[in-house]
């Protein structure tokens, strides 16, 4: 590289980086520049190549072609251990603290300066007992600790990959506070997030990736969101209805339970009722009811009992007290199998836990079918194929990588989880943060899909960590706070400001009970 006549050398300069896995091209040719003292967003739909680029920048994988320069000097990373030497530190999507070591040992493991970590934690008004095992700490705190550890290295470029995904709103604010301080010191951040509101709040510029290449870099002024979405979606944005499936009857066969009826709101039959569900330390008497054709949202900050609520309903966990009725019949599920038989199915937050990563799309979809006594004996491959095929078509699943689900993008994996229950049939779908870490385009599809399911007579209980989703998708919303339903609102009244107040336990107008 000769010296080029540039006024200011960019801190990070990525040019034409590409990476392929076998036949799958993850990155075609991505370029990116981050200036000193800039918070730069890296955006793109799922499968656009963001994670691959981050992995390359942090030395987790090596690119096939292209160059990376830090302050004009080419760098090459052999492993995650070598990126910090070039002045890069990253907070990955998955916590990188080792669970069986104490916090102190974890810091020692990476050679982090404990005093620096403490200082950054204090800057976020947080602290941890350093003799606690990392595995005993709640997930949001682990992310923050990861962040403090990265900051303590004083890197020139900090890479934050979906750091806010697992954080409650108040912690996000503290993270932003630290990022602003960081920028004020003339340092840079590469910020990866699906939450456009956050991107607009904290970032200066954004680079958008699509199909493994950069399609534009823009300054985040007012009204940049539409532009970003347009760039991310490309031609797809022009016809948002293109993915709507053919109506029932045209090839797709809605399952009996779903087909049941498409009733009007309050006259529709009650599909799920819970009375006084309690789990020690998590739930303190939660009651709710879902009618056919209804989507009920659950809004809550991290750790307000939503996990326990969904676990109880899905049969993952037994409630200490309370009653569950499904379509009028009492259900006391001892295992998820019991709940599934009654027609209550779960789409969990962690897709990896819901899927068999090494098996095909078809097997993943057909998995619950194998459970039925009538299906013991040889598997009817034709029936299985038909059901799976119908579900794949209905959800517009991208099946290019269908031989192994683990090779698919996150959004497509989520669709496979939903498709499984479409093929198996259900009455009530429990969706726990189904759009976490999923791109805008796929998110829209999932929203539409949930509405379709409801229109076809199913009931959906949806917990989401993204409050703006609630008025978009739900009919009603329940706000959980400290294990209780503190408020129930019609979705149209649930604008973000109201919800934020409610989930923080403010504005408690209707006392529970």
């Amino acid at each position: 590289m000769g010296r080029h006549p540039m006024p200011a050398v960019n801190l990070l300069e990525v040019r034409g980086v590409s990476k392929r896995y076998g036949a799958v091209v993850a990155l075609r040719s991505a370029s990116l520049t981050v200036a000193a003292g800039e918070v730069h967003a890296l955006l793109g739909a799922n499968g656009a190549g963001k994670s691959t680029l981050v992995k390359i920048l942090t030395g987790v994988i090596r690119p096939d072609a292209g160059t990376i320069e830090m302050s004009g000097r080419p760098v090459r990373f052999a492993s995650p251990a070598s990126a910090p030497r070039a002045g890069l530190a990253a907070v990955f999507q998955d916590p990188s603290l080792v669970p069986d070591l104490t916090v102190r040992q974890n810091l020692r493991l990476t050679g982090a300066d404990p005093a620096g970590v403490r200082r950054w934690l204090a800057a976020m008004d947080l602290g941890v007992d350093e003799d606690d095992l990392a595995g005993d700490l709640p997930l949001p705190l682990l992310r923050i600790l990861d962040l403090a550890r990265a900051l303590a290295r004083e890197p020139r470029l900090l890479i934050l990959d979906e750091i806010t995904a697992a954080l409650p709103a108040d912690l996000v604010e503290r993270v932003f506070h630290v990022i602003r301080r960081w920028r004020a010191q003339g340092r840079s951040v590469l910020f990866i997030s699906h939450r456009l509101v956050e991107v607009r709040t904290i970032c200066d510029r954004a680079t958008v990736l699509r199909d493994g290449a950069d399609v534009g870099t823009l300054v985040l002024a007012e009204r940049a969101e539409q532009q970003i979405v347009a760039l991310m979606l490309g031609p797809m944005a022009a016809s948002p209805e293109a993915l709507r499936p053919a109506g029932p009857g045209a090839g797709t066969r809605p399952d009996a339970a779903v087909r049941d009826r498409a009733g009007g709101a309050s006259a529709a039959p009650l599909l799920l009722e819970a009375r006084g569900l309690a789990v020690s330390g998590a739930l303190r008497g939660v009651s709710l009811s879902l009618r056919a054709g209804e989507i009920v949202g659950v809004a809550a900050l991290e750790g307000q009992g939503q996990d326990a609520l969904f676990d109880c309903l899905a049969g993952n966990r037994r409630a200490d007290a309370g009653e569950i009725r499904v379509a009028g019949r009492t259900l006391a599920p001892r295992t998820p199998y019991d709940a599934i038989r009654a027609g209550v199915v779960l789409v969990p937050a962690d897709r990896v836990h819901a899927l068999l990563p090494q098996r095909s799309v078809r097997e993943n979809i057909a998995l619950p079918l194998y459970n039925r006594a009538a299906r013991w004996g040889p598997i009817d491959l034709r029936d299985e194929g038909a059901r799976a095929g119908a579900a794949i078509a209905r959800l517009a699943i991208d099946t290019r990588a269908q031989r192994q689900v683990r090779r698919m993008s996150g959004g497509n994996q989520q669709k496979v989880v939903v498709a499984r229950w479409l093929a198996a049939g259900f009455r009530v779908m429990l969706c726990f943060d189904p759009t976490r870490g999923i791109d805008v385009g796929t998110k829209r599809q999932i929203h539409r899909l949930l509405r379709d399911l409801a229109a076809a007579g199913a009931a959906v209980l949806l917990f989401t960590s993204e409050l703006p989703e609630i008025p978009l998708v739900c009919d009603r919303v329940l706000a959980l706070y400290e294990g209780r339903v503190v408020r129930e609102l019609p979705a149209r009244a649930a604008d973000e400001a109201t919800l934020l107040r409610v989930v923080h336990g403010l504005a408690r107008e209707e006392p529970p009970g």
Partner: protein
């Protein structure tokens, strides 16, 4: 280092000592169980004396060292099915080399063999890391290699060891069985320096969560190779224990120790998933298993049946621990 109390830390701070006991509850329990069993034996057989204690340690020494070898590897998230055959091989080679050796030469030979065994372990680890072939398969294969070599070198038992060398491992030092001294020395000289170093931290980290360790910048491959090298060195010590106790070489002497070492490791509170546990627990478990065996033999129980009892105890203890864990999680 006692830094300033973390700002905003949770109000309740358990006392450090209490927490240490709770975290190593299993080790404490196993050592307690061993003590209780010794006390019972003392009550039932008041004639128990130092000599009995020493014969217990002598009998348990190979298993103790085998368990330490296995533990080093299991802590790093692996498993080593070549521990037993490696002990046989070291037993055979040392008995051959020491046949006409003086005590001093024997010690030198032992040190040399230990280095070779550690290198062999490191090689095994390197193969596992470099090829990505599962450890269970690689170590099964290397186990065949070591066992076959042992048989090739010494088809029928033979060789010898100088009395002084034998006494070093199976005699007594003052009134302490020298086997205990060997174990403590191995812990102090071989294990603790690694355990307390960054390499030891890396070994636990890699066993606990390999992906997180890798993302934290830990040299995962090096940590795993270190674990297998430690395993090789401990297995060599186990081989010497066989040589010392029988004063000859036998290519079949170590065979049974592969699986019993896994049993002692598990019974000693080391998580087979890696990352959790220590060395004291497995050593205590090895002594416990040997003591039970001795007691049963003493009571005239058919030795074949005493294996049934040993196996049942392992299953029972692990089962109870599992139930306790499930209950604690459920609460």
């Amino acid at each position: 280092m006692t830094g300033p109390p973390a700002p905003g830390a949770a109000g309740r701070r358990p006392i450090a000592a209490l927490r240490a006991v709770r975290r190593s509850a299993w080790t404490v329990a196993i050592v307690g169980l061993l003590g209780a069993l010794l006390a019972v034996e003392k009550l039932v057989h008041p004639t128990l004396n130092v000599f009995d204690m020493q014969s217990l340690v002598d009998g348990a020494l190979p298993l103790c060292l085998a368990a330490m070898a296995q533990t080093a590897v299991v802590l790093s998230g692996g498993i080593d099915l070549s521990v037993g055959p490696m002990m046989s091989l070291v037993n055979v080679v040392s008995a051959l080399l020491m046949t006409h050796a003086t005590n001093g030469q024997a010690v030198l030979i032992a040190l040399g063999l230990m280095a070779v065994a550690a290198a062999a372990g490191a090689l095994t680890g390197a193969v596992i890391v470099a090829t990505g072939v599962p450890d269970i398969i690689v170590t099964l294969a290397t186990g065949f290699v070591w066992g076959g070599l042992a048989l090739h070198i010494m088809p029928i038992p033979g060789g010898a060891a100088p009395a002084g060398f034998a006494a070093l491992m199976t005699g007594e030092l003052g009134s302490v069985p020298s086997g205990l001294v060997v174990i403590l020395a191995a812990l102090a000289i071989l294990w603790e320096p690694v355990h307390r170093s960054p390499a030891g931290l890396a070994l636990y980290a890699v066993g606990s969560n390999r992906a997180a360790a890798y993302l934290s910048g830990v040299a995962v491959g090096r940590a795993r190779v270190t674990a297998y090298a430690m395993g090789g060195a401990f297995a060599a010590l186990g081989g010497f224990a066989l040589t010392a106790s029988t004063t000859n070489g036998n290519a079949a002497a170590g065979t049974s120790y592969t699986l019993t070492s896994v049993a002692a490791t598990v019974l000693g509170g080391v998580s087979l998933a890696g990352g959790r546990g220590g060395m004291i627990g497995p050593v205590a478990a090895a002594l416990l298993l040997t003591l039970i065996n001795t007691l049963l033999t003493f009571e005239g129980v058919d030795p074949n049946f005493s294996l049934v009892v040993q196996g049942a105890i392992v299953v029972l203890v692990v089962m109870v621990a599992g139930l306790v864990l499930v209950r604690r999680r459920g609460a």
